[in-house]
Amino acid sequence: MDDFVEFWAKKCKENMPACQKEVNRMVDSQIEIGNAFYKRIGRKKALEILLG
C-alpha cells in the first residue's frame, strides 16, 4: 500500500464510524475557521471572494 487514499479507505472499511468521526472533526474545524475569516474581513469582501 503506497498511497494515502488506499490507507485511509482500508481504515474506513475496518471501522467506518471512527473514520467518519475523525473526518467530521476536521471538516467542522475547517468550516469554523473559514467562517471566522469571512466574518473578520466583512460581508462585502467575503461575498466578493465567495461569488467571484
Binding site: V5, D28, L50
Partner: protein, 187 residues
C-alpha cells in the same frame, strides 16, 4: 422524523435542517458528489454540499425559498425567489444557501436539467454505511460522474475511496450505463 444526525457535526446538521424543509414540501432531492465520499469517511475537507432537486415550477420554488428564509437560511446571491429561479435555476446555475449571518457551509442547489439528472433522482437511495437518513445519488452514479465527467485529482481520489470501501458490491454494468448517459447528455 429522526435523521440520525448528531447536532455536534456542523455539516450534517446543516443538511438535515435543509432536507427537513424539502421533505415538508415534498420536493425530491439528492445529495451528490464530494459529500457522498466524505460521508463514507473520505479524508478531505469541504465547505459545500452539492444538491439537485427535481424540476419544480417557479411557484413551487418560491414556496421553497420562502420556507428556507423562515427557517434561517439565506442565499449568498441575495436576490428574490423569482430572480433566483429565472436567473439561476433556469440557466442551470446553482443557488448557494447558507445559514443567515454565516458564510459556510454552503448548499449549492441546482434543479434537474436533463435526462441524466432525472435518472439520478429516479434511482436515488439512502446509503446505510453513511449512518445518515438522507437521499443520495447512487454509488454507481457518483463513480460514473467522477471517472467520466469530473476527472480532477480530487474527484478521482473520491472515486477510488468509494471503490475501495464498496469493493465487489459495485454494479459495474450500472456504472457503465451511467457513463454512457453522461456521454449522451453532457458531451
Amino acid at each position: 422524523m429522526d435523521l440520525m444526525v448528531s447536532d455536534k457535526n456542523v455539516l450534517t446538521s446543516f443538511i438535515r435542517d435543509f432536507v427537513l424543509i424539502l421533505d415538508k414540501l415534498k420536493i425530491q432531492y439528492i445529495v451528490v458528489s464530494g459529500f457522498v465520499a466524505i460521508s463514507h469517511g473520505r479524508s478531505r475537507g469541504t465547505e459545500d454540499i452539492d444538491m439537485i432537486i427535481e424540476n419544480v415550477s417557479k411557484e413551487k420554488f418560491t414556496e421553497l425559498n420562502n420556507e428556507l428564509d423562515t427557517n434561517d437560511f439565506e442565499t449568498l446571491q441575495g436576490v428574490s425567489g423569482e430572480e433566483l429561479f429565472e436567473d439561476y435555476l433556469e440557466d442551470k446555475l446553482s443557488i448557494r444557501y447558507v445559514r443567515k449571518g454565516e458564510f459556510l457551509p454552503e448548499m449549492e442547489l441546482k434543479m434537474a436539467q436533463d435526462e441524466l439528472d432525472e435518472d439520478q433522482i429516479k434511482h436515488r437511495t439512502k446509503l446505510p454505511l453513511t449512518g445518515l437518513d438522507f437521499y443520495f445519488s447512487t454509488i454507481e452514479t457518483n463513480l460514473a460522474f467522477k471517472e467520466e465527467l469530473l476527472k480532477s485529482p480530487k474527484d478521482l481520489d473520491d472515486a477510488k475511496h468509494l471503490r475501495l470501501v464498496y469493493g465487489d458490491k459495485i454494479d459495474e454494468d450500472e456504472v457503465n450505463r451511467i457513463k454512457e448517459l453522461i456521454v449522451k447528455c453532457r458531451f
